[in-house]
Assembly symmetry: C2
Homo-oligomer: 92 residues x 2
């Protein structure tokens, strides 16, 4: 699990470019595969991040599996809420 | 092209359930494959739509290819803007 987290970038509320730079850094440190994950409204940003990496920084990057799914989370009122997820794998 | 459009649902500003119902209707009319497309911030909603179809309506639906990409569009000031895209194929 530790190894998985090392190669995973969770996209959230920061600007897209923060996550782009995190990914570029990981690739430049020798990693060959990175997974970009996001939930809910951040899914659009995760796709943006993967596209910016390819279009502006590493044109020969390959998209591996793109997985979508549903996570069940608990709201502040202890209600169970379904939230969509995405995982985009990038390979150098 | 006409045939492609017949099987394509473009997700935009309407509530998710509008697109879910459009997809359910198409499947109930005998179609075996539907592609859900979206751009920009609607990408998250397109994933929601595909997950609601599977989780609430047609549990045995299969996800085919999930493609992401970039479209170049022209802003009101004639500036070229990159916008991310997603295509999610659902098969019955």
């Amino acid at each position: 699990m530790a190894e998985e987290n090392d190669n995973t970038i969770f996209v959230g509320k920061k600007p897209s470019m923060s996550y782009v730079l995190a990914a570029i850094t990981q690739f430049s440190e020798g990693k060959n595969e990175i997974t970009i994950k996001a939930r809910g409204r951040s899914i659009s940003k995760a796709v943006d991040v993967s596209q910016i990496i390819k279009n502006k920084f590493i044109p020969d990057i390959k998209f591996g599996d793109i997985k979508i799914g549903t996570d069940q989370i608990e709201s502040e009122t202890k209600e169970k809420i379904n939230v969509s997820t995405i995982e985009i794998t990038l390979r150098k």
